[in-house]
C-alpha cells in the first residue's frame, strides 16, 4: 500500500509539468519512504530521512525554484521527440535486467534469504548507530565532515563570485 503510493508520487515527480508540483510530489515520496524505513525497524534513519530530505533538501529545492521563478518560464514543455520512446525502452530494459538478475533469485520460495522475523540486535537504535559511528567508522565520519565543509565553502563561492 505504502509502496504503491510511493511509486505513484515518484511518477508524479517525473511527469508533472510544473516544477513546484514535482517538488511537492518528491516530498510525499520521501515521507512514504520514511514510513517504509519504520517498517524495516530503522527508527533513527526514518527520522533522519524526514529531517534531512523532506526538511532540509526540499526546502533548498523550493527556495531555488522560487528564486528562479520557474513558473513564469515557458515551462520547458517536452516536445514529442524520440527521446521519450527511447528512454521508456531504456527504463524497461534496465528494470528487466536487474529484476531478472537480482530480484528473481530472492523471491519467496528461495533458500538464500530465510526472512528472519526479528531484526538484528539493536538494529536501528540510536545507541548502536552512535557507538558504531564514533568507534569503527571514525575515519569515514571525519571524511564526511570535511566533505560537508568543502561543500559549504564551495556553494558560498558559487553564490558570491561574479561570473564573467
Amino acid at each position: 500500500m505504502v509502496a504503491i503510493l510511493s511509486v505513484l508520487s515518484a511518477l508524479g515527480v517525473v511527469f508533472f509539468k510544473n516544477a513546484v508540483r514535482s517538488a511537492l510530489s518528491l516530498v510525499a515520496t520521501f515521507a512514504l519512504l520514511s514510513v517504509l524505513y519504520l517498517t524495516l525497524d530503522a527508527q533513527l534513519l526514518a527520522w533522519t530521512q524526514l529531517v534531512v530530505y523532506a526538511g532540509a533538501i526540499m526546502v533548498l529545492f523550493l527556495f531555488v525554484i522560487m528564486v528562479l521563478n520557474l513558473s513564469k518560464q515557458p515551462a520547458l514543455i517536452e516536445r514529442r521527440d524520440p527521446k521519450l520512446m527511447l528512454a521508456t525502452l531504456l527504463g524497461f530494459g534496465f528494470a528487466g535486467i536487474i529484476g531478472v538478475q537480482v530480484v528473481t533469485p530472492l523471491l519467496p520460495p528461495s533458500e538464500i534469504v530465510k526472512d528472519p522475523v526479528l531484526a538484528p540486535n539493536g538494529f536501528g537504535q540510536p545507541q548502536a548507530i552512535g557507538m558504531a559511528l564514533f568507534t569503527d567508522y571514525g575515519y569515514p565520519f571525519e571524511a564526511i565532515s570535511v566533505l560537508l565543509l568543502v561543500g559549504i565553502v564551495g556553494s558560498i563561492l558559487l553564490a558570491k563570485r561574479r561570473l564573467r
Binding site: V7, I57, L90, V103, F123, I144, G151
Partner: protein, 113 residues
C-alpha cells in the same frame, strides 16, 4: 515483526531507481533532473536498508549485528553526501541561470570545448 518478503523492498527500490533514470533522461529542467537524482539515491538507501534488515543470523561465520550496522552506516553517509551534493549543485544551477537567463538543459553547452 512483519511478514513482508525482502524481495518486495528490492522491487520497490528497483522501480524507484528506474523512475529516476527515466526522469533524468526525459526531463529538460535541471531542477527536476536533480530531484530524480535524489530519487535514485533514496532507492539505493531503501535497498541497502532492506539487505541490512534481512541479514541471516550469521554472516561469514560471525554474528550479524556488526554487518547490519554497516548497512545503516552506508545509508547515513549517502544522506550526508546527498546533502552536500544538493547544496553545490543548486549553487551551480543558480550561477548558470544568472549567466544565461535560461534553465533549459539542452542549451547548456558552456563546457563544450
Amino acid at each position: 515483526m512483519n511478514g513482508v518478503p525482502m524481495a518486495a523492498y528490492l522491487l520497490l527500490g528497483l522501480v524507484l531507481f528506474t523512475i529516476g533514470v527515466v526522469g533524468v533522461v526525459i526531463r529538460r529542467s535541471p531542477i527536476v533532473i536533480f530531484m530524480c537524482i535524489e530519487l535514485m539515491l533514496n532507492a539505493v538507501n531503501l535497498t541497502t536498508l532492506a539487505f541490512a534488515r534481512y541479514l541471516p543470523q550469521f554472516v561469514a561465520g560471525r554474528e550479524r549485528g556488526h554487518t547490519a550496522v554497516a548497512g545503516e552506516m552506508i545509508v547515513i553517509f549517502i544522506m550526508a553526501v546527498a546533502a552536500a551534493e544538493v547544496a553545490v549543485g543548486l549553487g551551480i544551477i543558480m550561477a548558470i541561470f544568472r549567466l544565461r537567463d535560461s534553465t533549459d538543459i539542452d542549451q547548456m553547452n558552456v563546457l563544450r570545448g
